[in-house]
Subunit: 320 residues, 2 copies
């Protein structure tokens, strides 16, 4: 066994003992596309598969960070270990994290039962970085009972976060985009639980009513045994309704298990993850085979109108 | 030669004679992922590569459709044949086209020198549909001198449209997102020409000044011989400034040619197109090999923690 293997085994062992520095180091390794990435994945996989993954999404300003923090507090009160991934699927150009203030999370900063990480990353194919499911697996293997994934509401990213989560919470608030708008954007379809935050404000009752109306128009409730997303009102800043949110998450968890949907979702998640990694490998092969780029040569032929892109693509795949 | 080949040759011939029904039929064939797709691509490629491709992007409300229509009018006055692709990269759930009113384009509806097509399509990988570059190639092969690609400003899609265009126009207007916001979103970096539309309104001068200031902060002007995107003011609804926009496009075209950037962009565009097609082929192979799904089997092993996703991905690629 090489020294590198020994270090990694030690790192995974310490992460499983809730050493925050070991967890942080493992996530950095999967984020940085380090040569150790594959070894890290192999080392953590036997320990993963136990965490409950809860996604939080919603428009800017609805109180996602506050809600996340309140959920962390409630889960800690129930003696659960909690991981938080705050994902910012921003423009490839911007680079920086735009994820609102993380100030509210600081109340959990000294708690060894909570691990918080911000990730501002986009993948090669324009979607979510492959590092996000890997970081999720690190937190899972490190013994987190629950991993919360929080993201800003920007369309495609919400769908991808939802694909990672067992249960997706859509956080709304009066005045920040109404329920009908969410329905139009297709976002409403990813919600397993609706959280109407800032429920002490004007318009909260109307927002909940609009959501219920939109639900009644949709087809999700029609099928026997289908999950009907509950609508939970909260004032996250004061902790009100947070226990109800956790109860709804538990009910959804029970439904996921009894319906077989949990197994289906985890299978789909693993398939998407493997496919993204495999396509990354294929792309690297296209870009450089033995020091030359098969793709560049094919592109030059298409530009010169010597071949069409489909024929060029077939030849490229055949060259693998 | 089969009857199918004969029909296709006839169709391409008629498209090249500016028969709008033949052009529409060819675009429908590439959009529908028809079995004829590869034959269409092979048939049109020898005739493509001549059109100048101009992208128009910007936030909703800035007057993109009006600008497109005004540009079409000016290009027609110069006796150019023009194609217009209006692309709506909407949510996979919404399905419908959200591309504002196309009413203003109707003034060109009876003109045989103008071909207009709306495409509301997303690709398998979440990016722009592979049909968009194919439709572009159809218009190119059909003898369009200029193809205008118009899209709504929604981040990633703008970047992808820019990657298809020789010259990208970023249309702005006072009151619809300021220049600094555009800079933050990374959108400003894709512009070859800034069009400040609705220049008769309050705030237009300030918007142009903000853009100039943002430019002076950026690094693009530093390099010797680099293109400095000009700022052109228009009132597209009255045709004011449209000739200046076309002049700026021509200047950019001259720079593209002399600097070698045109060849570089077209090479990159062809490479991206071939890669997208090849990755689509690879994904289909992952999904179904001889009636069974290698990917589903790999995912089941990862869910059971029998293997990690990297090892599973390597095996999947090796199975190709």
């Amino acid at each position: 066994m090489s020294r590198r293997d020994v270090d990694l085994a030690d790192l995974v062992g310490r992460a499983r003992s809730a050493d925050p520095r070991a967890v942080a180091r493992l996530i950095s390794l999967v984020e940085s596309d380090s040569p150790l990435l594959r070894q890290v994945a192999a080392a953590i996989t036997p320990h993963a598969g136990h965490a409950q993954v809860v996604g939080l999404t919603g428009a800017p300003g609805v109180g996602k960070s506050t809600s996340t923090s309140a959920l962390v507090g409630a889960l800690r009160a129930a003696d659960k270990r909690v991981g938080v991934l705050a994902v910012d699927p921003s423009s490839p150009f911007s680079g920086g994290a735009l994820l609102g203030d993380r100030v509210r999370m600081q109340e959990h900063a000294g708690d060894p039962g909570v691990f918080i990480r911000s990730m501002a990353s986009r993948g090669q194919l324009g979607g979510l970085s492959a590092a996000v499911p890997q970081a999720l697996r690190v937190l899972d293997a490190a013994g987190c009972d629950v991993v919360l994934i929080e993201t800003v509401g920007v369309g495609q990213a919400e769908l991808e976060i939802a694909s990672l989560a067992d249960t997706t919470l859509l956080v709304l608030a009066p005045g920040f985009g109404d329920g009908i708008q969410a329905a139009k954007a297709g976002i409403i379809e990813i919600a397993d639980v609706f959280v109407v935050n800032k429920a002490d404000r004007d318009g909260a009752t109307q927002l909940a009513r609009d959501l219920r109306h939109t639900q009644s128009l949709g087809g999700r409730t029609a099928a026997e045994g289908a999950w009907r997303p509950p609508i939970v009102k909260t004032v996250a800043a004061r902790g009100e309704g947070v226990a109800d949110v956790l109860a709804a998450v538990e009910q959804h968890r029970a439904w996921l298990t009894s319906s077989g949907e949990l197994a289906r979702r985890r299978q789909a998640r693993a398939a998407a993850e493997i496919e993204a990694i495999a396509l990354g490998t294929v792309r690297r092969r296209f870009a450089g085979v033995h020091g030359s780029s098969a793709l560049a040569a094919a592109a030059a032929r298409v530009v010169a109108a010597e071949t069409d892109p489909y024929t060029a693509a077939d030849e490229l795949v055949a060259s693998l």
